[in-house]
């Protein structure tokens, strides 16, 4: 089995060079570019770092990121061509298929790229020449770990995610990439700006204890002669490798004995647009409906136009008043997120009397509440993450990132939770469906001002604790305080969001008929 799989791998490797002159020349150029990029990546830390210590730290971080990507990319975009299930029909034991697939992955383009990168590293780090054994161990561990990570994650996704959900997963991956990219780019830019920063050393120490960064960290200790620390770090990766190999064998055995649950007969969800991407559960279809409305109904869009205006005016006023630009940079995003989460505090009134459908079907209040928050969450969370990294870039200290992120996520979640309660407790007249989004509501008065003021005040007060803690962490930017601010912000936000959905849901359950009556008077 192993030998056969190796032959298959060689054929697959060479297949890229098959075809006409164009295809072959393109493949050759791509291969050359790949080799060049691997060598460049190995050289990059030399250019970034001033001292050997910094270089080692950057090496650790870079190899951690690389190995993490090796695990993540196959999960979100599965491009593998040889998978366990393809061999289910052959008379071979799961163990031999697992071993064969694992070992033959050595002969794949990504592995070859990795080998080139490691070879370039070895060539470009003169200090490694003194510890050939450690270099060999680190290299082998890195290689095996990379193969194990890629195999496990791609097999896992094939096993656990149905084929029809793969495109959705790719979207999730893209969104994640887009949200982390600014942070990553900023980190690299920051490293460029101040290579001797203590934070890089701190991060390298942390990364060094993860299986991803441990080989590089162990090697760095070996170079300094600390054999015990080196062995400990290598041990971390070796342990992770053993666990992954076990998982790999289990996954292969499971893949070979199960088939994907076939799509139920007669299911055609064609023409349902956003609904096709959500499961057929009440909460999920309400989310899909909310998203459809945000896309098709101009009333929702118009309400969002005003949101960026407030922070701009605020910034201008504070800037004229002479506030420090670094502090000022932190302000607009939480204000935008607060307004964004708050913008759905009258969501039921926008549905008008159509809400009867939820009531007549006995939909749970919590499902109604949670589903409605989908657009806010799907836009707000990436906005909070991307925005936080931009904020930190402008304010110029990347150590603030966890605190800023925690603060922004907390503000968004708290505001959304408060909106959840208010939209079922205190609806007030809104522009009717189908009317011009600039038209005034048909009915005026009846509590609009009170509901707006009260919901905003409650959101502000409830968002205060995590914001104050984050402010403290920003004022005294130690790593521990920042991480605490992040954890506190996310936890606080999640708890209040959950409470908001629960309380709002209860209010919806109890007062649904009255809600219909109220929307009828608005209509």
């Amino acid at each position: 089995m192993v030998a056969r799989l190796f032959r298959l791998r060689v054929a697959l490797l060479l297949s890229v060079f098959r075809g006409g002159f164009r295809e072959v020349s393109r493949a050759v150029i791509l291969a050359l570019l790949a080799v060049l990029s691997a060598a460049l990546l190995a050289w990059l830390p030399l250019w970034l770092a001033g001292t050997a210590g910094d270089r080692a730290a950057i090496d650790i971080i870079l190899s951690s990121v690389l190995l993490a990507l090796v695990a993540l990319v196959p999960f979100f975009a599965n491009l593998g061509s040889l998978e366990p299930r393809q061999f289910g029909a052959f008379p071979a034991s799961p163990a031999s298929i697992a071993t064969g697939l694992f070992l033959s992955t050595l002969l794949s383009w990504p592995t070859i790229w990795l080998l080139i990168w490691m070879a370039s590293l070895a060539a470009l780090r003169p200090e490694w020449a003194g510890v050939p054994l450690a270099v060999l161990i680190a290299g082998v561990l890195t290689l095996l770990l990379a193969i194990a990570l890629a195999r496990v994650s791609s097999a896992l996704v094939r096993l656990a995610v149905p084929a029809r959900a793969v495109s959705g997963l790719r979207w999730v991956g893209l969104v994640l990439l887009l949200t982390t990219l600014p942070v990553l780019i900023f980190l690299v830019a920051d490293a460029l700006r101040s290579p001797r920063s203590q934070a890089i050393q701190d991060a390298a120490t942390v990364f060094g204890w993860t299986p991803f960064g441990a080989p590089a960290a162990g090697l760095s200790y070996a170079v300094h002669g600390d054999v015990a620390a080196a062995a400990a770090h290598f041990g971390v990766t070796a342990a992770a490798l053993i666990v992954l190999l076990l998982c790999w064998h289990l996954i292969v055995a499971r893949s070979l004995t199960t088939v994907e649950r076939p799509a139920p007969a007669g299911v055609t969800r064609d023409g349902l647009e956003i609904f096709e991407r959500f499961p057929a559960k009440p909460r999920a279809v309400i989310a899909a409906r909310a998203l459809t409305y945000w896309r098709r109904d101009p009333r929702y869009r118009i309400a969002l136009f005003a949101i960026p205006v407030a922070p701009v005016i605020m910034m201008a006023a504070l800037w004229i008043a002479g506030m420090d630009l670094h502090v000022l940079a932190l302000l607009p995003l939480p204000v935008i997120l607060l307004l964004f989460g708050w913008s759905v505090h009258n969501d039921v009134a926008l549905d008008s009397t159509a809400i009867w459908m939820h009531v007549a079907s006995g939909t749970k209040g919590t499902h109604d509440r949670a589903g409605r928050l989908a657009p806010v969450m799907l836009i707000g969370l990436p906005l909070a993450v991307i925005g936080s990294s931009i904020t930190v870039t402008i304010s110029g200290d990347w150590r603030l990132l966890p605190a800023v992120l925690g603060m922004n996520i907390a503000v968004l979640l708290v505001a959304s939770g408060v909106s959840s309660v208010f939209s079922s407790f205190m609806p007030y007249p809104a522009t009717r469906p189908g009317d011009s989004p600039f038209a005034q509501p048909a009915v005026q008065g009846s509590g609009a001002g009170l509901a707006q003021t009260l919901s905003m005040l409650v959101a502000l007060v409830l968002a205060l604790p995590p914001v104050l803690f984050a402010a403290y962490a920003i004022a005294y930017p130690t790593f521990e305080l920042n991480v605490m601010a992040l954890v506190l912000g996310v936890l606080w936000g999640l708890i209040l969001l959950g409470l908001g959905v629960l309380i709002g849901g209860k209010a919806f359950d109890r007062g649904a008929p009255e809600l219909i009556a109220v929307t009828q008077t608005f209509d």
Partner: protein
């Protein structure tokens, strides 16, 4: 039967002869074949159904439903029963409280007092369980009309707890039954009023409820679609379902319903099988008598075509 009679003739008859055979054979075989078959009209089926349904168990029971808005009584002590397999009409003059009563049944309007139960499940005590067996079409409430017809059907089905295979199958069949197949990809807001009524009807049926509560289902529907809807409702009732529907058209109620409840000023003034309620006269005459017994044709003496008086 016609085919049989033709085959009994010699096989080599010319087409012209077949026609005569068709015309003459019935006299020989049976008196009913050969004539143009007149479909049994709804009204006959309704009369037959009334007797059967009266013996069926009660599925929906309203007990002294009362709804007051401040001093105004929209419904006062409304009690009635709907038997399984019956098509019950609720009629009453404008503003009599029909919509109020029907929306109290479907759980959309909380009664001030009284009890409403479906299959002995209290609608206001065990809402979600009762709502699974009720299908409702309210009048004058919006639909989520930015969704396409297909999305709306899917939405209604999933909210009622159906799995997606069932929803897909039923949505397609309902769309065909109501003649909406070609409109499923268009937003409901672009539908005509009649089509919106039909998609609403389809949504109310998608979870195969045991009781359909329809408020003015025939309003704005064209005559051809109306007979189509009647056909669907009769089929549903024949299968053991029950329908309670309101309408302004007494003619329609008399034609397709087997039971009727007459509501005037929020109170039930008459109920029972259509025949029992109309008591020999037409339902319209009976209704007129019940709603305003004495002041017929009074007032408006000044309203006449020629203005030659005084």
């Amino acid at each position: 039967m016609q085919a049989e009679s033709v085959q009994s003739e010699p096989a080599q008859v010319a087409p012209a002869a077949t026609e005569t055979a068709n015309a003459e054979a019935p006299q020989a075989a049976s008196p009913r074949t050969g004539r143009i078959e007149v479909p049994v009209p709804s009204v006959v089926r309704a009369r037959e159904r009334a007797e059967i349904a009266a013996g069926n168990p009660v599925v929906l029971r309203a007990e002294s439903l009362t709804k007051s808005y401040g001093q105004v009584l929209a419904a006062a002590d409304v009690s009635f029963e709907v038997h399984a397999g019956s098509l019950t009409g609720v009629v009453g003059p404008n503003g009599a409280g029909k919509t109020t009563v029907l929306s109290m049944i479907t759980g959309l309007n909380r009664p001030s007092s009284g009890r409403i139960s479906v299959h002995d499940i209290d609608v206001w005590g065990k809402g979600p369980a009762a709502k699974r067996v009720i299908g409702s079409l309210p009048d004058r409430l919006r639909l989520f009309d930015r969704l396409t017809g297909g999305q709306l059907l899917y939405y209604a089905g999933v909210l009622q707890g159906l799995d997606q295979a069932t929803v897909a199958k039923r949505a397609a069949e309902l769309a065909t039954a109501f003649g909406l197949e070609s409109a499923l990809d268009r937003p409901v807001s672009d539908y005509s009023a009649g089509m919106q009524k039909k998609i609403g009807l389809a949504c109310s049926m998608i979870h195969a409820p045991e009781v359909l509560v329809l408020d003015e289902p025939y309003e704005t529907i064209d005559p051809v679609s109306a007979s189509n809807v009647t056909e669907i409702l009769e089929k549903y009732v024949a299968g053991g379902g029950s329908v309670i529907m309101s309408s302004h058209s007494l003619d329609l109620i008399q034609r397709i319903c087997d039971h009727v409840v007459i509501i005037v000023d929020g109170s039930v003034v008459a109920q029972g099988t259509v025949d029992a309620v109309r008591d020999g006269v037409s339902l319209e005459e009976r209704f007129k008598h019940l709603t305003n017994p004495d002041d017929e044709g009074k007032g408006l003496e000044w309203l006449r075509g020629s203005s030659d008086s005084e």
